[in-house]
Symmetry: C2
Subunit: 277 residues, 2 copies
Amino acid sequence: MITFSGNPLDRTAARRDDEAWLAERRANGRVLALHEGKPLMRGDELAWLDGAGNNALFLGMDGETAVFAVETDDARDGEFRELRAVALLLPADEAAIVAAAKSLFEWHARHRFCSNCGHATTVFSAGWKRVCPSCAAEHFPRVDPVVIMLPLRGDRCLLGRQFAWPKGRMAPLAGFVEPGESIEEACAREVQEEAGLSARHVTYHASQPWPFPSSLMFGLFVEVEGEGIPDGVELEEVRWLTRDEARSMLDGRHPDLLAPNRYAIGQVLLTHWVEQT
Amino acid sequence: MITFSGNPLDRTAARRDDEAWLAERRANGRVLALHEGKPLMRGDELAWLDGAGNNALFLGMDGETAVFAVETDDARDGEFRELRAVALLLPADEAAIVAAAKSLFEWHARHRFCSNCGHATTVFSAGWKRVCPSCAAEHFPRVDPVVIMLPLRGDRCLLGRQFAWPKGRMAPLAGFVEPGESIEEACAREVQEEAGLSARHVTYHASQPWPFPSSLMFGLFVEVEGEGIPDGVELEEVRWLTRDEARSMLDGRHPDLLAPNRYAIGQVLLTHWVEQT
């Protein structure tokens, strides 16, 4: 299972504009509380609240129970904690629900005004749309595609380290997809830009919703040619690893390398490659 | 080759903020002209202009030549034509360049104001960023991921027809990816919502930049269970096809079915499936 995927809710999108239907479900709804992207926790568990207000975001149905989310700074029932810190404490299905709500709220926070005319916009569709009362433009949540790829040459893979990362932390390369390119083309551009590598063949592995704030990660393997030279802008360092070296890094046994975060798809790519022989 | 992919330009993103470098290249640059997303054509060829102004969008390098794009209503040098009408007349590499420029200009047209505070924003990075002079928020072009999938059951595939389409026109199912879901999950949700089908296994096939206005299409195959019943909202009709029926539709020989547009990835999926035996 890939962290932040596996949301078990039925989004029931057809009901998002059905105010009467939603009204019936609010009183008995379960409510996830977030503040600035941080879920409300009680110890190491989500602090679910009972009963949703009119402005709650509708996340979907859990069987007969409607599930909502609210942005609030009321921490009486627990403590707001960073999602990165609790992603692996939560059951996978709850982490995925939190991820969806976090992305939506962070989109709302940055999109209160109409990009088309500058007027303040209004929330519609139980939180899934904003509409401009002045120019009538409709605005939908952003989902920003990102490619993350493990360059492969012979029996080695290449990892990179960004300037801001702690010494020893290394991960596959990554970058945003731009308008007018496929993910395969974005992958080829990024490995060339960041490490001077020529992409020969790109293979899709898996995708992952990534709620920081609203990316969609495309995990790829890419056969490359070239030595691999860090660009000195994004990447400070690159390193070719054998499967044995990567395995010891993943197991926490490598003398000077730290693996990618356990909830990141970079770790999934690396683990998959290590397990092939 | 997938239409709108295969842009041959080196985007040279590292130079987008290098005003001196750009200034040297404008006078000898080649310039693509668009008006409201329509490229300027002379007959069936792009009407390239010479020399770029200071506000031209920098698309990248074609060898030693810098390539730019401008939004203009000046049609002295040709005629503005719909991209859908000329996509297959243009060489593939030029169609891909037009697609990138079209997506960017349509993003600019709808994003002149800051979604964070409502203030008018300013173009930066040779057209690849807008910045708010009031709140300093940076805004990047949208790329909206869409899943398009061919449902398969046994030796048949399912196509759907939307209400707005002409009678007989059928295509794979499609929908926008929402925050908090992988493409595999978006695919499963869409086939359930639109046709009442349960997804069993999703396979990635290819991606395609889709400049109407700025989508990124993910072409998928999905093994499904269920009969397939159109939702009556998006889809008016669904139909299971054998490979022979799909082949005759693709060849234009089917008595009452019309294939998807030739430049759409739906056609690529269908052709790939037909060619498997």
